[in-house]
Amino acid sequence: MSSFLKQSLRQIGTFIVLYIAWILFTYSLDVQELVIGFVVSLIVSVFVHKYTEFKIVNYIFNPFKAINFFVYLVVLVIVEIQSHLSVARAIITGRVHPAIVKVSHRFNSDLGRVLLANSITFTPGTVSVSIGKSLYVHCLNYEKNDKIDALFTKYGLRVFD
């Protein structure tokens, strides 16, 4: 019984998030839009509520975590600019040293792993090939003893554990 209650709470939470996203997207309070959004988010929430992760709420409403997340975004943008320049140089000169490197991370939660793998794939020059207990990353330009995840792990551990 309690698992049923938990399931329905998850579904209602998913539905509310989807409905808010719909209203922000259409940005109107027409009856037509509201009804269509209600039906669509109800149907979608039935299918996806198994996979939603509500632990993120604990992080969003914690001001220290929110500030750390903002710092993380700034670091991500800086790394992004650097890697764009290096990949552009590799494309123009045509010199690449590809490698598949194992990255053993220190994140325990799924959210942290998703953050790390997404950030690594988001920067050009590194793509995560296989995700599990440890991460396997394909690098475009690998030099010996390069730590790919050093900055992401350092600042990411302050946000998610």
Partner: protein
């Protein structure tokens, strides 16, 4: 002014990424060029549009699009590369390979 500069940077980086798709020879290195188009090209162009429409409804919508794009784009890149690796496509001239054929067989 700011948005125009960002649009120019976005189009240059999309151009370089498209060049990379032709210059690189295997799918693992090509996906790096594709990431360069989608991040440097699309997201910078969207940011430029958001700055151009600052304070209107459209900037809110564009910011939502940026968030969804940033969440889903790495997932699709990862899915392509992972599928290629599972199909057995070998990466060209690796200088180091921690994830060899044997390791994959053990894992799956």
């Amino acid at each position: 002014m700011m948005s125009e500069v960002l649009l120019y940077i976005a189009s240059i980086s999309a151009l370089i990424g498209a060049l990379g798709l032709f210059r690189f020879k295997d799918c693992y290195t090509r996906i790096h060029a594709a990431t360069m188009i989608s991040v440097g090209g699309v997201i910078l162009a969207l940011v430029a549009l958001a700055i151009e429409n600052l304070g209107t409804v459209y900037s809110v919508k564009i910011m939502l699009i940026i968030i969804f794009f940033a969440l889903t784009n790495p997932v699709s890149s990862h899915a392509i590369v992972n599928a290629a690796h599972r199909m057995g496509i070998e990466p060209d001239n690796l200088s180091k390979d921690d994830l060899g054929r044997k390791a994959v067989k053990d894992k799956v």
